[in-house]
Symmetry: C2
Amino acid sequence: MDVIKKLGYTPNAAARNLSRSKTDTIGVVFHQMSSGFFAQVMAGIDKAARENRYHILCAFTHLEAEPGKTCTSMFDEMRIDGMIILDPALNKPLLNDLKSYRKPIVLIQCDSHDRDISSINVQNRRGAHAAVAHLLNLGYKDLLVVRGPAGAQDAQLRLEGCEQALKEKGPGVTCRYIDGHYDPQDAVEAFRKYRAKHGLPRALFALNDAMALAILKDLRTDGVKVPEQVAIVGFDGVDSADYVGLTTIETPMTALGEGAVRLFLKRLEAPDQPAEHIQLETRLVVRNTCGG
Amino acid sequence: MDVIKKLGYTPNAAARNLSRSKTDTIGVVFHQMSSGFFAQVMAGIDKAARENRYHILCAFTHLEAEPGKTCTSMFDEMRIDGMIILDPALNKPLLNDLKSYRKPIVLIQCDSHDRDISSINVQNRRGAHAAVAHLLNLGYKDLLVVRGPAGAQDAQLRLEGCEQALKEKGPGVTCRYIDGHYDPQDAVEAFRKYRAKHGLPRALFALNDAMALAILKDLRTDGVKVPEQVAIVGFDGVDSADYVGLTTIETPMTALGEGAVRLFLKRLEAPDQPAEHIQLETRLVVRNTCGG
DNA sequence: TTGTACGCGTTATCAT
DNA sequence: ATGATAACGCGTACAA
């Protein structure tokens, strides 16, 4: 040990990886990085990984040429011990493919209901229910919901939460839907089309903050008063929502990241135990754009 | 090749790394991840790295116990071929230490003026000059500048840009300074102290958007009218600034990341060529909080 | 305790 | 061109 200190020796990771068949690295695959939501989750992952002396090999899939290649090549080349995925575009065949590598996989915001794939989510259905119930309780009867991507499980659950709240309220309420694919630009475009056809809705619930913020900005640029003319609620609780005063469903983004790493480590240490599926709580945060 | 396809063979990265002494991986070390600025730069790095078949090993330093350890251990363990650093807390001794590994190093937002360390920046001095000139041209004579971290080069340059603009305008203008360390919470705290002592400034220039946004929100929560009572300008051009209507100095964040990867690759391919030092342009974007 | 040899999967070198 | 072989640096198992 004295000599180690004296010579400043440090083990070579490549050699250790080869010999141990272990990399001390978690693959982190996100759909993209530009939204505040991903950044906060990443911060949580980094914190927990650092505490457990793990490295992070990160990649974002929204630019990938062959879908799924980012994940499979990380496993094929043995660059990582397992991975954490946060990608609404995730599909069943890919997941089954990844499962066959028999390495820990943790899904964020997508419950796999699988014995071998862990998952950590927020109360998507309940959160969306709270958002719509909030709108209905305020007396709004003309709603517009901006949906997420068709294939995304969290978007589907949020949609179900909406529908449930509407059902509970009974008749006398109209609710229409447009598709924003969780993307701010798509959302604005779809909203403008809707507006040209049906006029302004009295209240709007966007299934994530990115879309809510973009539409909010578009409306205000147009001179439309929010919430006087249109009430808006978002979902996620990103920093911008706070700055803008967007009423939203707050999600514990950093905890989502930290939890994902915990699940990863558990799975690594006890591969035979069934994978866990965690759900974290959401909270309605009332700000200016609706009921504030 | 047929057999390779048939058996689904993929080379083992650890073995290749060991044999070639090359990892095809870039270490990306940021101060933190929670701000939109870092996220956008990361998106640019990912894009360029992906195009060049490079991997990203990322880590954030704001939680590290021993300063510099994140960088040095990545090099010591030979996990990466070189690194891209974006950290205002970067200091000279650490940089010299890292240089001794003789691997490509690219600094973002910190010109090393070094033959062996590349750097890519924005026009920090000129951008800040434009911001203050904008305020002065609008007739504001009572300014408050919210500074960044004492040791950060970009913060220093932005400060110099302020001072230069003030000097050009001549007398009749008062300008005070507080320290926000680029941190939104620190900035709000410092601003409140200032306000208790000196009252509201007529105009405020925060050296990054994160601080500007936090102070803006604090003021509006307090019922202070912006820009009627206080005009505000920020620096960076993050998404939130657009949503809130913050006048700011826009920086090409994604291009910063892409450029950093380009410099990295150049340096890797031609280690004997002197390192390049690039400066990207900034642009004043006038929105609601000042002159809009 | 200390030492020695082999395997990890690939690349590179050297004969054939 | 083709094929055998020695590194690469570390972990591990076994022998002394």
